[in-house]
Symmetry: C2
Subunit: 228 residues, 2 copies
DNA sequence: CCGTCAACATGACGGCCGTCATGGATGTGG
DNA sequence: CCACATCCATGACGGCCGTCATGTTGACGG
């Protein structure tokens, strides 16, 4: 089937996740999966769903988030082009508490859970990649826990901006609401911090976008970067 | 070599982590690893170490923690008998920021990283178990992030007590210091919360141990309304 | 039996930040 | 071009909890 163009397939060839995996093995994924499109702000999966399929983002952006019973929402992960989502889903029978939605119009390669597990057992060469990816995610989650202990909202916002800069470059197309949901705070506090950063000439802001002029200044604090 | 008694080996046979793995595969681990003992409060690994070997706890308890530069320490994980630690270490080349120490006198099975990776490729039947275990850990980390958003220290302490009760039963042999490092707060706040729980007859406390009389009450989230 | 230390317990204070409120700026659709 | 929604921006207030301080209790060794 001609669901995927060659340039789309090349996205996977060069994706960090697939590093070291032979190209023919990678391309096998296109045979066992199909393409799905999600318009902006639509749900890929809702809370409590037992998310079975594995997704690979071909273009766009997925936001993985959860919300507590008090209504506060936090974003755990932003999945961009070439990255996988729900790698572990097929192996966990329990329903997760996460929800996934398209932060922008997003095109994905979707692979059913049992097909993915078959793929893994047939091509064990990919196992180290999976473990490596999950390991990075686990370290990142632990970093964020440490972050939240520190309780300094300013530091959290700065680290979020720094991390997003490393992942997406500049300008960052996010609202203060989105930033605050990643940093684990409120839009007001985020705006206050960004106001200070603006006064220092480190960033400039417009509606829905943030230009970072001095990335080094954002890293001035603390160790370790989170993988968002 | 007769490093391990039969009863020790049986610990693994019945361990949840190894569920579904044939016994002869499990026992192969004893051939490629060796026994190590850690006295109480000694370090298994320090911060920044590239922890290569995988550990399985045979008796005792490992505490996996990290501390921020402000000196605050947080405990991520308590590894008890039959549970693995550092499953992903062999696959990650970077140094981690965690440190592991023996919370009690602890005896472990230690397997060098490359030997463990060889074992995994030779016995792929264990891969789903690894992924499942890591997946649970990842969900748990995300839950804690959500918890920290909630910001109510009382709820965090109660949830910690509830979780520890499910894992270790009663009485819990932990000090307020240890509880606070798991809950992400201070010993004082922990003691204050436990004081209220004591007044309600939910727990009783002695030096270094906590008896839980009403586990269900700890799961009650509407603590704030009860307090008034 | 006593000295010492670690842990328990509790009170007081202050700062951070979440909440609410208000107003202005910007983009969008009819 | 205007109405409206959304986002940005900033001020004021109040509560939670981290910090410090003080005293008590229990454990352990000689």
């Amino acid at each position: 089937m001609a669901q995927f163009t060659q340039s789309e397939k090349d996205v996977f060839r060069t994706a960090p996740f697939f590093k070291g995996v032979p190209a023919d093995v990678v391309f096998r994924l296109f045979d066992i999966g199909d393409a799905v499109h999600f318009p902006k702000n639509t749900h890929v999966s809702a809370i409590g769903d037992t998310v079975d399929p594995v997704f690979f983002v071909m273009s766009g952006l997925l936001r993985i988030s959860a919300c507590s019973e008090s209504g506060r929402r936090i974003t755990f992960l932003l999945v961009k082009r070439g990255e996988p989502y729900n790698l572990l889903g097929p192996y966990l029978d329990c329903g997760r508490f996460l929800e996934a939605e398209a932060a922008r119009p997003t095109r994905c390669l979707r692979i059913q859970g049992n097909q993915f597990m078959t793929f893994v057992t047939d091509h064990p060469v990919i196992v180290p990649n999976i473990l490596r990816w999950i390991g990075i995610g686990l370290d990142s989650a632990n970093s964020r826990i440490l972050d939240l202990m520190e309780k300094k909202v300013e530091n959290r916002v700065m680290r979020v901006l720094s991390t997003l800069y490393e992942k997406f470059g500049t300008p960052l197309l996010f609202t203060s609401q989105e930033i605050s949901e990643i940093a684990g705070t409120t839009p007001e506090s985020t705006l206050r911090t960004m106001g200070q950063l603006r006064d220092m000439g480190i960033i400039t802001t417009q509606r829905g976008q943030i230009r970072i002029h001095d990335p080094a200044a954002l890293k001035n604090i603390e160790f370790g970067s989170l993988k968002i």
